[in-house]
Structures are given as C-alpha cells and as structure tokens.
Assembly symmetry: C3
Homo-oligomer: 183 residues x 3
Amino acid sequence: MKTITFVFFFFHFLTVSLAHPGMKRQHYPCKNLVLYFHDVLYNGQNAFNATSAIVGAPQWGNHTILADKFHFGNIVVFDDPITLDNNFHSVPVGRAQGMYIYDTKNTYTAWLGFSFVLDNAQHKGTINFIGADPIMVKSRDISVVGGTGDFFMHRGVATIMTDSFEGEVYFRLRVDIKFYECW
Amino acid sequence: MKTITFVFFFFHFLTVSLAHPGMKRQHYPCKNLVLYFHDVLYNGQNAFNATSAIVGAPQWGNHTILADKFHFGNIVVFDDPITLDNNFHSVPVGRAQGMYIYDTKNTYTAWLGFSFVLDNAQHKGTINFIGADPIMVKSRDISVVGGTGDFFMHRGVATIMTDSFEGEVYFRLRVDIKFYECW
Amino acid sequence: MKTITFVFFFFHFLTVSLAHPGMKRQHYPCKNLVLYFHDVLYNGQNAFNATSAIVGAPQWGNHTILADKFHFGNIVVFDDPITLDNNFHSVPVGRAQGMYIYDTKNTYTAWLGFSFVLDNAQHKGTINFIGADPIMVKSRDISVVGGTGDFFMHRGVATIMTDSFEGEVYFRLRVDIKFYECW
C-alpha cells in the first residue's frame, strides 16, 4: 500500500509540473529543420532576378534623412527561395515571404515578420516568424509563433545566421528552426 | 488492487501525453467562430467609403517597377468591418485592423498581420493573426498567435476564403477561426 | 481504500484540467515585468534625438488623402529606449524595436508589431509582441507571442498605457507584461 501511494504521488508531482504553465518544461526540440533562404535585393537594374525590394522609404526617393543612417525606416518586402543547402542554384523547397524593417540609426538591425511556405515531398505547410534581428550579431534568435499544415500549431525558436552576402544585393541566411511545441 | 493499479497507470498515461509539449494533442477545436470581413480599397475617389489604402508603394506614384508585377511590394493598411454573415450591410460586430503586403512577382500572394477587435454582446476582446496568404488558392490557413479579453491567451488556426470580390475595390473574406488552446 | 480512491480521482481531475488545452488554466502570471518606453517621433528637425519616423505615407509627401484622417495609413518605424521607471533620462535597459501603423479614419488606433530587446544585469533576451492598440483607451491589451533568451518560448498579455505625451513628438508608454507561459 505504501509503495503504491508513493508511486502515485511521485507521478503526480511529475505530471502537475509538466502541465502547469508556469513551470519549467523540457528544453529539447520535438522537431528540427535547417534551411537556407536567399535574398536578392532590387537595385534598380535587376527586376528579373530580384526577390525583394525596399518599399517603405526608398533610397532613391528618400523622404526622411534618417534613412541615410543604416537604412533606418526602410521597409523591405521579400519572396525568397528556400533551399536545403547553401547553394543558390539548388531546387527550392519553398518560399520565405514577408518583410523586414531597418530600425536603428546607429547600426544595422531589423524587425522581421515573415512566413516559410513549404511545398515539397518532405513538408507541406507554413511556419510563421516574428522577432528582432540584430544583423551584425553572428547568431540571433527569433520566435516561431505558429504554423499550419505539417506545422499545425507548432511553436519554437529559430536561430538565424548570415551565411554569406555580396555587397548590398545578395544575402544568404541559414535558419535553424527548433520546434518545442509540435502537436 | 490490480484494477486500481491499472486504472491509475492508464489515466497517468493519458495525462502525461496531454501535458508533454512534444506529443500529439487532440486536434479538435475548443472554440470555433465564423466571421466575415469586408475590404473596400481606396481608389482615389472613394475616401468616404474606403476601409483600406495602399500606403507602402502607391500605384499612382510607384517607386519600383516591381509593383507592376502583381502589386509586389504594395503595403495595404486596413480597418474593415466584421459581420456575422456575408452581408456588407449587416451591423458590424467588430473591426479587422492591420495590414497586408503583396509579396510575389508572378502571382497574387500576401503576408498578413492583423487583429480582430470584437466588441458586441457575444464577444469582447481581440484576436491576433499572422501568416502567408496565397490569395488565388481557395482556402488558406494562417496562425492565430494570441488573444485578449474573451480570447485571453488563445491560439489556433484560421482558414481564410475569398467569399466575393468586385474588381480591385471590394473583397469579402470568410474567416473560420478554430481555437485549439482556449484557457 | 475509499479515501485513496477519492484523492486519486480528485488529483487526476485537477491534472487533466490543467493539461487539457481546451480547459481553463490558472490565470495568474508566472512572471511579471513593468517597463517604460519612450518614443521621440521625427518631425523634420530632430534627426539626432528622434527614435522613430513615419515611413509608409509621410505627412509631408502624403500620397493618400486618407492620411489627413487621424494619420490613417501612416507606418512608423521605431527604436525606442526602455527604462525601468518613467524617467526619460534613466539608463536604458534595452530597446523597443519595430513598427506601428495608424489604421482608423475616424479616431486614433494603431496596429503594433515590435520586440523588446533587453540586455542588462537582470534580463537578457527578447520579447515579441503584436496586437491592436486603440490609442485613446486608457489601458489596452496586446499579445506576447514569443520570446528568446531569458524569455525562451514565453507567452502572455501586455497591458499598454500612455503614461505621458507632448504634442505629437514625445510619447511615453508603460507596459505591464504578464507572462502566463514561462517554460
């Protein structure tokens, strides 16, 4: 009888801990994805190849003198190919779609709001992200706030690294998506 | 004694499953709402009736040649009435407020960030959405990432359907909101 | 035996309630933070001190006549200092970075998408917010949709109050952040 009671309370302690929203849960991902996306910024000449463009405060028609300062206030809309490796010419597995906003006067930082739209043999569904991106930092974390399809109701954290860039036209980002709520 | 032990572990298995963030949970909504919202885009002549306007890269003062391509880069801000049925003249139960961004060069897609602000006999509170909207697809899913008031801490998935449209001025959207976390 | 069975089911009822996503959970915060942030809007003369600027539909080059109506359609990008008290001159503990969009024609309301980037002795990490902001209402709630670092995976509700303002240039906001999922 005593053993049963002990086991009973021991398990209850565990269960209540996991269930209680204010307590520590296990911090290993239930799913992990590493993907790359490739941003080719419109520079006035590359309309065919460009995957993104400054739309909020265009450099060539700049309404505020603040935009000279690390692009402050520039809004960039993008539709970038996503690949499984770091090769720009690999077959895309989806598109990264949304926007980023340059939001500091004295360094490069951005605020991100975008989605991964995946449609391939492995994954069909969308992953939704928002967060602050201190671009000059090697590795920075943003939030995975929701998902649909294969990523139904998922939440997590995505670590972004600038994998490569060429001037102000090409940026390649490595995104390490760690889901901690998978459903 | 054996029966009790069996029941005990059976229930524990259930409870731990539900509580563990990395495991499958039940996929039926804890709450469901079907609402319509009505977007009347500003076309230069309808300032009184318009509920939304292109602000990022205006068509009539277009800074990038990309905007000719399926409105790429256009940012639209909206404050649209929400109704319980598909009648534009029904008494609104709230407002859909936020923005969408056209984000593809070769088809119509948008990125959405907006809130439902509900204030009526049935519902008081806000519901916050983000996600990718492949406009030409009949039914598309976005994330419900949070809520306040009656929708305190809610999460879920919203299915959007273009219920009707007239040219490029009037769009009626049906939104089937399925909450899977209700608190 | 009867007592044990009773206790057993009583506790199970509690646990299942807490774990089941569709059921009421306890509504007291697992963590609480009160912070202030200070928005100094660019007015054409204060580039040095300004922490934010209208970029989407600038007042001085307004593309739509709707913007006369309570700034409808104006997009403001900001990088505002965060302080522990309501003194603008206190040492900042981080930055509030992101955007707000004026989104009503007949009153002042905004849609918010931003992050708190905290980097101090007490807190290192980011907190991500979205939501509707009916500016003229004394106290309004938005969603905390995720976090990183010390705020890993956190969710909650933030109550925003306009603590002070001077004309259309200086706004001080008090933010009472209540986390209900803390990990």
